[in-house]
């Protein structure tokens, strides 16, 4: 029986690995290959492999398309959004993590509101709001939008961090005569540091990846990395360019995976809903 | 009501034998305890009997039928879990009838059984509550009721009382025994608590390191431990290394120990010249006469008054600073007010001293 179970597991394991290969690794590997097709050669049937591999397409794209400006836009937006979101999320996360109050569970669920509304509906009517109140700065518009749709992530990660701060440490710090600043520094900061770090990364990457708000508010003149990828995937389908930009866009996510592998569950606020 | 026969069963996890070559026979309606320290293999044996572990070697028969490879869901055994293992999404009544619904029993019979067991374990007012609304003691009762409702021939108990506080534990002990006598099921009870084992069992199987090392009634186990492990695990015992000097008469031996010379009256002869012996603390009696055999004088090292008895610790080497260096314990039931530093004279009857295993 025991042996059968082990053999069964090994069998399923091998099958899963094969499926995974087709389901995840193959598409990623093909994207990489396409991003490395040399601009002077084409890759078409019946070539099994591109005739020549090079990274030449990358600097070419950088210089001849809006990629450079898009990346500047995306990352400066991301930086601003990250700082803003962190500051806005802190107080609410503190309340969720350290204070018991009536209606806390309802409040927690309410933070998920941006996630239960279809992203394009939010984007369109947010843009119509921006028009009505006369905000024409695309940067500002997208930044506000991003802050709000990413707040649930930041609040969730930070409130878990705050709840892990030990009360006896706070009490001890106060008892030993630490002022407000001392308590924050010695009791809170050591614990919430990693939460802040996780928030920064998650928010930055989600902001850079975000498509609907950036597309609707930004188009046509304010481009971000996802919006130019959409261009190359849509009416102007250029496969090699799309491959390069896909990798540029997915790259940071892979870093996210490496850095936060064990915190992924935490990084998704919707995971909270499942906890009955 | 069923019989159980475990023959030469071993369960192995990798290279580690959790139980090795264990054989036990249990009669109909008997209450037996598997007693031993944690890691001795008692729970593994219980899980082999219930079907959760398939033995690597050996066979298990219930009522004469070989069930060695029959899965738990098709065995005539029911388990009462240490953690109670109640279904958190079901209320008390649904928990109790969970197994009955598997048996496609008609609703009326099911309700009759439910009524009966609920009355027996006194849960009448809790039927609609879910497990997390119940106290630990109530949860324990639900677990018991759920097992009783199955009407299995054998009910297996995996330390069912270990999560209750001391007072409740004693109360439930008696209730469980009464239920067992009333229902007549065969009970196999795993515990590491020797007082529980002594109080409840018809027979005890003492286990250590994957083996059954002694089997017998509580009386036999307590009176005639086979070795120092059993002697010290069940009750308390003063054990000494001894050398057998000679035999003065049939069944009477003179031995020498760290305490001095002693006379032992034992129907079984010692297994070796150098042997371990033991006597129970309550075997010591204060005496005036000092000439008799097995009589010793000593200074009270520590006296703890317990009400009905006084626990006394005597340090062999009075000048030693190490408390544990060599000390033994007396329990004096006589009414004497004793305190540290008092000189006492006590006697151990030769019949109270037991030969154990040979000194290695």
């Amino acid at each position: 029986m025991k042996i059968n179970r082990r053999r069964f597991n090994t069998g399923v394991l091998v099958a899963m690995l094969v499926v995974m290969l087709v389901w995840m690794i193959l598409p990623l590997a093909l994207a990489l290959l396409w991003a490395m097709v040399d601009p002077d050669y084409t890759w078409s049937y019946p070539d099994v492999f591109p005739q020549k591999l090079s990274f030449r397409r990358w600097p070419m794209l950088w210089e001849t398309t809006t990629l450079k400006q898009s990346m500047i836009n995306s990352y400066s937006l991301g930086a601003a959004v990250t700082v803003m979101t962190l500051l806005l999320a802190m107080p609410t996360a503190y309340a969720f993590g350290r204070i018991e109050f009536k209606g806390k569970n309802v409040a927690r669920l309410l933070t998920l509101l941006p996630m239960v509304l279809p992203g394009f509906v939010v984007a369109i009517f947010f843009s119509s709001l921006l028009i009505s109140i006369g905000v024409y700065s695309r940067f500002l518009g997208i930044m506000i939008g991003h802050c709000i749709v990413l707040l649930p992530f930041a609040i969730r990660i930070l409130s878990v961090s705050f709840s892990q701060v030990r009360q006896d440490l706070i009490d001890a710090a106060k008892d030993l005569g630490a002022g407000w600043f001392g308590v924050v520094r010695h009791a809170y900061l050591p614990t919430i540091k990693s939460g802040i770090f996780a928030t920064l990364i998650v928010v930055l990457i989600r902001s850079v990846e975000e498509f609907s708000l950036a597309f609707i508010i930004g188009s046509p003149d304010f481009t971000t990395v996802p919006t130019i990828l959409f261009q190359y995937l849509g009416y102007a389908y250029i496969r090699t360019n799309a491959a390069v930009i896909s990798l540029i866009l997915a790259g940071p996510s892979i870093i996210l995976m490496v850095l936060l592998e064990r915190r992924l569950e935490l990084a998704n606020p919707a995971a909270e809903v499942g906890k009955g | 009501m069923s019989t159980l026969s475990v023959e030469a069963v071993s369960v192995r996890f990798g290279d580690f034998y959790a139980i090795r070559d264990v054989s036990i026979d249990v009669h109909q309606g008997e209450f037996v305890t598997l007693l031993g320290p944690s890691g001795c293999g008692k729970t593994t044996l219980l899980k082999a009997i219930s079907g959760f572990h398939v033995p690597d070697t050996g066979t298990i028969h219930i009522d004469g039928v070989d069930v060695t490879t029959v899965p738990p869901e098709r065995r005539n055994t029911t388990m009462c879990f240490q953690s109670y293992a109640l279904f958190p999404h079901l209320n008390v009544a649904e928990n109790i009838v969970f197994g009955l619904r598997q048996q496609r029993m008609d609703g009326n019979t099911r309700n009759e059984i439910l009524d009966q067991v609920v009355r027996q374990v006194d849960l009448g007012t809790q039927l609609k509550k879910t497990p997390n609304q119940l106290s630990g003691g109530q949860q324990q009762r639900v677990a018991l009721a759920r097992a009783l409702a199955m009407r299995s021939g054998i009910i297996l108990f995996d330390e069912p009382l270990s999560n209750l506080d001391a007072k409740l534990r004693e109360q439930v002990r008696f209730e469980m025994l009464e239920l067992q006598k009333e229902h007549g099921f065969t009970a196999i009870y795993v515990t590491h608590d020797q007082s529980e084992a002594l109080a409840m069992s018809d027979r005890i199987f003492v286990m250590d390191q994957g083996n059954v090392i002694q089997r017998g009634t509580p009386w036999e186990i307590y009176q005639d431990p086979v070795n120092s492990f059993v002697a010290e695990f069940i009750g308390t015992a003063n054990t000494f290394d001894a050398r057998v000097l000679d035999s003065t008469a049939a069944g009477r031996y003179r031995i020498t120990t760290a305490m001095g010379e002693l006379t032992v009256a034992s129907p079984t002869p010692p297994k070796a010249e150098r042997i371990k012996v033991c006597w129970r603390p309550e075997a010591a009696r204060l005496t005036e006469a000092s000439g008799e055999d097995n009589t010793f004088s000593a200074t009270v090292g520590l006296a703890v008054f317990q009400g009905n008895l006084t626990d006394i610790l005597i340090h062999e080497n009075e000048h030693g600073n190490d408390l544990h260096h060599r000390s033994y314990r007396l329990q004096i039931f006589q009414h004497t007010n004793l305190s540290r530093g008092d000189e006492i004279t006590f006697r151990i009857a030769p019949e109270e001293i037991r030969f154990l295993e040979a000194v290695q």
Partner: protein, 287 residues
């Protein structure tokens, strides 16, 4: 009394910049959509209360096609994701050599942006993509198949499943792992075989997570724009796509608002219905 008032004020003050902003923003956006759907804030023509836009859309067959298409994609997407995730969650309940590796591999799509996922898929199935090459090399087909923008929306379903299955797995695996071993052992001991254990213990105990996964995937898939535009049927619109068309191509904010409000209603009611149905199925299975 005074203390508790002070405390409440503190809590409210703390919640304001985070939760307050979220609720305010979402509230305003929803109100904007509703108001515009009723004819106000018409950026092109005359503003004022009118049910004209609702009448126009609700009697438009393209609207209803989009509505039912989005519903269908959302239901199938949620169902496929959960159906694949459930057995994997059960399989990974107990750690074994290699299980951790598999678990982190499966999570990859969670980290891949939707647009990139769409590219990966299109790249695989396009005219000169890997699948066509492979099939041609094996001599199964002679001409490349046209798989992109298939008329049944299979591409969209594959993408939805690819992206959302790991999310469903995340929720379900957590719930399945939270079931204690001895509870399952007890069920088995009481006569439940593996199928009964699933129906009567595992499914009811993971119901909340199942419902959450279904509802959230449903909402996401119902509001999908990018997968549909890149890989979906050309002759059909998803609700988000149709809404965008009203606004971008026809310039009618008010018509777009009608579609937007309908989409929100679809998302809310649809996810609730999906959650309810899953509950009914689980409850029926428990019997």
């Amino acid at each position: 009394m005074k203390d508790s008032v002070k405390r409440s004020i503190t809590v409210v003050a703390l919640l304001l910049p985070g939760l307050g902003l979220i609720v305010g923003f979402v509230g305003i956006v929803v109100v904007m959509a509703v108001v515009q759907s009723l004819g106000f804030l018409n950026f092109l023509g005359e503003s004022g209360f009118s049910l004209h836009f609702w009448q126009r859309q609700l009697s438009n067959s393209t609207f209803w096609k989009a509505f039912f298409y989005s519903t269908r994609m959302a239901v199938i997407g949620a169902f496929c994701s959960v159906t694949i995730a459930y057995p994997i969650a059960l399989w990974l309940r107990k750690p074994f050599p290699g299980s951790h590796f598999i678990a982190s591999m499966i999570k990859i799509p969670l980290l891949i942006p939707g647009l990139v996922a769409a590219f990966l898929y299109v790249n695989l199935i396009s005219h000169s993509g890997f699948i066509n090459h492979g099939l041609m090399a094996m001599g199964i087909i002679e001409e490349p198949l046209k798989m992109r923008n298939d008329p049944w929306g299979i591409g969209v379903i594959i993408l939805q499943t690819w992206k959302n299955m790991p999310f469903a797995l995340l929720l379900l695996a957590g719930a399945v792992r939270a079931i204690r071993d001895d509870v399952l052992d007890a069920a088995q001991d009481l006569g439940a075989n593996i199928w009964v254990r699933f129906r009567r213990v595992v499914a009811p105990l993971t119901l909340t997570s199942l419902q959450a996964a279904l509802a959230i995937i449903f909402i996401g898939a119902a509001g999908d724009f990018s997968f549909q535009v890149i890989a979906g049927p050309i002759r059909l619109n998803s609700m988000a796509q149709y809404m965008m068309r009203q606004q971008r191509e026809l310039g009618s904010w008010n018509d777009a608002a009608v579609v937007g409000v309908s989409l929100m209603v679809l998302a809310l009611i649809g996810s609730a219905v999906v959650a309810m149905i899953s509950r009914m199925i689980v409850k029926a299975g428990e019997k």
